[in-house]
Symmetry: C2
Subunit: 262 residues, 2 copies
DNA sequence: TGTACATCAGTGAACGCGCGTTCACTGATGTAC
DNA sequence: TGTACATCAGTGAACGCGCGTTCACTGATGTAC
C-alpha cells in the first residue's frame, strides 16, 4: 500500500534507497523461506523472520503490510520458482519432438525442486493455511507448471511435432461410453483453459486433458507421499520409485517411446 | 501415564467413574475433531478444546498428558474411522468377484469420508505438523485403507475369484525392460508388506503392487487437490470427476469390466 | 553547488492476547475391612 | 450396612512465553529550487 512502483514509471535511474529496498525485501523473503523449511506456513512468525534478518519486528511493516501479505509474496515467489525450474527443464531438451524426454525432464525437475524446497512445496501443495485465502495474484503463477505439462502432452498428440507411432494417443483409452457425458461438463473449466492457451488443436481433447490431469495428480501425490512420510517402510529408493512412476505415466499417455526396444 | 487399563484386568463391572472417564475422553476427542475442521492440527489449542467441552484447561490433563498425546489419539481415531468406512464399503458389495464394484465402492467411500471430515483428512494426509512425530501406535491404523485396496486388486489377479477376462492383469503393462531392476528393490518394502499379509499368491507381483500404489496415490492426490483448492476453476463437478478417475484407474488395473458393453 | 523541506527506514516501547503446563486445593467416588 | 482411607476429577490461579500490530521518535536519503 505504500509506494509500490508507479505503473508507468519514467526510466529514472534507481536511487540507492530503491536498491536497498529491493535487496532487503528479497532478504526478508529469503529468511521467511528458510523458516518454512522447519515451521509450516501457519506458524510462520513475522517476529522470527525479523530477528533472522537482523531488524526489529516493526521494521518489517515497512516492507509488508501484514503477515498475510508476506505469505502471499512467498506463495508467488515459490510458484514462480517452481514454474521457472519446470520450464527450464523442458526447454533444455534439444529434440523438441522427443516428448517422452521432455516429460521426464519436466517431472523430474518438479520433484527435484520439491525435495530441495520442502517448505515451499508444503506451502504450495500442502494443507491450506487456515484463515488465509490466497488472492488473485497467485493464480497465474500457479498455472505455470501445469501449462508446461499440458503443452508437452498436447504437442505429442495431434500437433505438427507428432512422433507417436502407436496411434492418435491416450484418448483411445476412453471407456467405451458414448453420448453426452457429465464428465465432459465437470472438466469444462480445464478444457477451456487448454483452448484459451492454444494448447490443443483437436476438437475433443476431453480424454486427453483428463488423463493429463490424472497424471499430474499422480505426480503431485507421489511427491506429497514422499515428503509427508507416507512411503516410509514401503519405498526405500524414492529416486528409482519416482522414475518408475514417470515412465509408466508416459506409457499411459503414449508419449514417444524413448526406451522401447521391441 | 495414569491408569490406562491394566493389561489383564479382571472382568470387574465398570464403575461409574470409569464410564464417566470413557465418556469424557470421547467428548474431548469429538470437540478436538470439530476444531480440526477449521483450525489445522498445528494450531489446535488444548485450551480451546477444554472450553468447547466445558471444562477448565488444566482438567484436560487428567485425560491426556500433553497436547501431543491428544494429537496422537486424534490420529489413531481418524485412521481407524477412515479404515472402518473403507472396509465397510468393500464388504457391502455382495458379489465378491465383482472387483470393479468393490474398487469403486471402497474409493468412493474414501472420498466421501474425506469430504465429510476435511479436518481429519488434512490431519492424516496434509502437511505434517512441524515438531510432532507420530509414534508407532499410529502405524497399524494407517495401513487399513491401503490393505483394503491391495486386497481388492490382488484378489482380482491370480486369486481363485478371478474374473478378469483380459489376461493376467496389469503386469502386462510393464515397460519392456528385463533383468534386475532397481525399481524392484525400491519397492521391496511394499512387496514385503503384501507378502506378509498374504495378499498375493504370485511370485512377482512387483508391477501389480507398483501399479496399485500409483493408483492409490492418484486417489489421494485427487482428493487432496479437491479439498486443498487446486481444482477450483478446472473441475466444477467433483463427484463426476472423481467417478471418472476411479473408472480409469479400474481400467488401468484391469479390474473386472462392469460397464463394458462391447 | 548549496540550502530547505519532504519522504522514508528503522527503533524501541507498549498494547492486548492466547497459549501449554504446573500446582495446591476441594469434593466426589471407589475400596477394604 | 457402615466406617476410614485412598484415589481421582475438576478448579482456579499463576508461570513464562511469543505473537501481530500500533505509535511516536530519530536520523538518513531524496528532491525542488
Amino acid at each position: 500500500m505504500q509506494d509500490h512502483d508507479a505503473v508507468t514509471a519514467p526510466p529514472r535511474a534507481k536511487t540507492a534507497r530503491t536498491l536497498a529496498r529491493e535487496q532487503i525485501t528479497a532478504d526478508i523473503l529469503a529468511a521467511a523461506r528458510l523458516r518454512l523449511a522447519s515451521e509450516g506456513p501457519a506458524e510462520l512468525s513475522l517476529r522470527a523472520v525479523a530477528r533472522d534478518v537482523g531488524m526489529v519486528s516493526s521494521a518489517v511493516y515497512r516492507y509488508f503490510a501484514s503477515r498475510d501479505e508476506l505469505l502471499t509474496a512467498l506463495l508467488v515467489l515459490a510458484y514462480d520458482d517452481l514454474g521457472a525450474a519446470t520450464e527450464a527443464a523442458d526447454a533444455a531438451v534439444a529434440d523438441r519432438a522427443d516428448h517422452r524426454a521432455r516429460w521426464s525432464a519436466a517431472l523430474t525437475a518438479i520433484r527435484r525442486w520439491a525435495v530441495a524446497n520442502p517448505g515451499d512445496y508444503a506451502l504450495l501443495y500442502g494443507s491450506p493455511v487456515p484463515g488465509y485465502a490466497a488472492p488473485q495474484t497467485t493464480v497465474e503463477p500457479a498455472t505455470r507448471v501445469i501449462v508446461v505439462i499440458l503443452r508437452i502432452v498436447t504437442e505429442a498428440h495431434g500437433g505438427a511435432a507428432q512422433t507417436d507411432e502407436t496411434g492418435n494417443g491416450a484418448e483411445a483409452q476412453a471407456p467405451s461410453q458414448s453420448g453426452p457425458d457429465p464428465l465432459t461438463d465437470a472438466v469444462a473449466g480445464a478444457i477451456g483453459f487448454v483452448r484459451e492457451r492454444g494448447l490443443a488443436q483437436e476438437d475433443s481433447p476431453v480424454e486427453l486433458v483428463l488423463r493429463t490431469l490424472m497424471a499430474w495428480t499422480t505426480v503431485f501425490g507421489t511427491i506429497s507421499f514422499e515428503l509427508f512420510g507416507h512411503l516410509v517402510g514401503s519405498v526405500t529408493d524414492a529416486d528409482a520409485y519416482f522414475a518408475g512412476v514417470v515412465e509408466r505415466l508416459a506409457d499411459d499417455l503414449h508419449l514417444g517411446s524413448a526406451g522401447m526396444p521391441s
